[in-house]
Amino acid sequence: MSTLDILLQQLANGLILGSFYSLVALGYTMVYGIIMLLNFAHGDIYMVGAFLGLAILTTIGSVLGFGWGGILAAMCCSMIITGLLGVLIQRVAYVPMLSAPRLSILITALAVSMVLYNGAMAITDGEYRAFTVDLGFEGIEMGAVFITYTQVALVLATAVLMVTLYLFVHRTMWGKAMRAIAIDKDACRLMGINVNAVIALTFFVGSALAAAAGVMAGVYYGSIHFFMGFVIGLKAFTSAVIGGIGSIPGAMLGGLVLGLLEAFGTQIPFIGSEWKDVFAFAILILLLVFRPTGILGKTEIERM
């Protein structure tokens, strides 16, 4: 392979990886934006979304098949159910902690993470599950570089979800309310906005996006397991920080940046792919030292 081919191949890999990171990072950043919670359970939500997607696909596959139709249907169902699970977790675990000190709610998030993680381990006997799909192996050939249609479709699906989210938060009243409660909750209450409902909606959207990423990861890697959410949770957090935590475009950008950096990082001499996590977290540390607000993070503007 020529250098150009290698770069092109890594570009493709990085985009896919980045898509997953971005989708999960969005939930992280949105929840942080509105209630200042680092939702440690978010990676596990992604994992639950993947398992729900697989369960649904297995059930409906006999009717809709295991091709795009079946996968899309399973993904949508998983997004809705996982979204509702996110709302349930928020209601049961987080709402009662909102007025407690910040550390309490952080510990609650860790507890939720453990419940989901260990629950999934118990249900799946701690085993890998094959995510069987029927998509074929056709793709686009560019010299030595080969990109499957599946890869293209995953990146496109991510793009569609992001554009939809962007339109939602900028064009609809509920989306605008979501941005506004990140700025000033009491002012929102005085506008007649039901702040708790908007927070619940934020959890729904964030969890649904994580579920979409989980299902896509299952399709892409071909198998899923109960600990798949752990590392991606950390990576998504890193992505959110890279982009500027609390910022929606920041999470989109941060995920792609991290995915690409990891992919290209594996090509640096002496740094093999086993170093890619080290690479990712080194970036996080450097960023926290030199630009803690992230790429798109805001600096407070105050004018009297």
Binding site: I183, D186, A187, R189, N194
Partner: protein, 238 residues
């Protein structure tokens, strides 16, 4: 006799152990401008926050248009037409002026009606229309106050609570804001105006209450308050 819009009966509010309101009773009648005066920390904002439901009173009742709203959630109170423009403007910085106004009409489903109301707000505050797509944080203090009031008007209030709208504004801007408050009142909006600037507030108001450390220490029609020795000494300067 004109109808009573808002009544507070012996309202007591605490912040933890701090007894901020120690039994407030007041009433606002249809079409009036009523002002609530008092020094820093007297409890003026707490009174408004209690009425809007942002803080809960421990004792007493709040009645709006004949209905007890003491235990009702803030967003439901807004739906009934009781709107507060809070102290310090609290506009949504980082969002455009237009978006700020739209959020003011969050309770509204009808887009055509939303545009009508926005047109009315732009008619009152033309500066907002010129800069509708700019970030709200770029506005000057006076313009931010106008945006906060415009945002409140998007809900089509029956009763408007204004918390220190003149705060931090140059004298000519204070006059401008007061002129607008009068205009709103003439358009039929009942107003409860909290002010430290007693001079301008009493010029505008029909009736006034004076608050000191969580208690109403004086109440009267605005004209007699303006003449009152104690008010002149404490609030109007010499």
């Amino acid at each position: 006799m004109s109808e009573t819009v808002l009544t507070l009966e012996n309202v007591e509010t605490y912040y933890g152990k701090i007894h901020a309101l120690r039994g407030i009773s007041l009433s606002v009648k249809q079409g009036q401008i009523v002002t609530l005066l008092g020094a820093n920390g007297a409890g003026k904002s707490t009174t408004l926050r209690t009425v809007s439901g942002l803080v809960r009173c421990a004792k007493g009742r709040v009645i709006f248009l004949g209905k007890d709203i003491t235990r009702i959630d803030p967003h439901h109170i807004v739906r009934r037409g009781l709107i507060q423009v809070p102290e310090g403007r609290r506009i949504f910085k980082g969002m455009s002026i237009q978006e700020n106004l739209e959020l003011g009409s969050f309770t509204l489903k009808d887009d055509a009606e939303r545009r009508r109301r926005m047109a009315r707000v732009f008619d009152i505050f033309p500066i907002l229309e010129q800069r509708r797509n700019q970030d709200a944080s770029l506005l000057s203090g006076g313009e931010q106050q106008m945006l906060a009031m415009g945002r409140g008007l998007m809900t089509d209030p029956k009763l408007l609570l204004l918390d220190e709208p003149s705060m931090g504004l140059a004298p000519f801007l204070v006059q401008e804001i007061m002129r607008i408050i009068r205009r709103l009142n003439e358009d039929g909006v009942t107003i409860l105006l909290v002010e430290q600037n007693a001079k301008v507030a009493l010029k505008l108001a029909d009736y006034g209450y004076v608050l000191e450390t969580g208690r109403i220490v004086m109440e009267s029609d605005a004209a007699s308050l303006q003449q009152d020795e104690r008010i002149i000494k404490a609030y109007l300067g010499t």
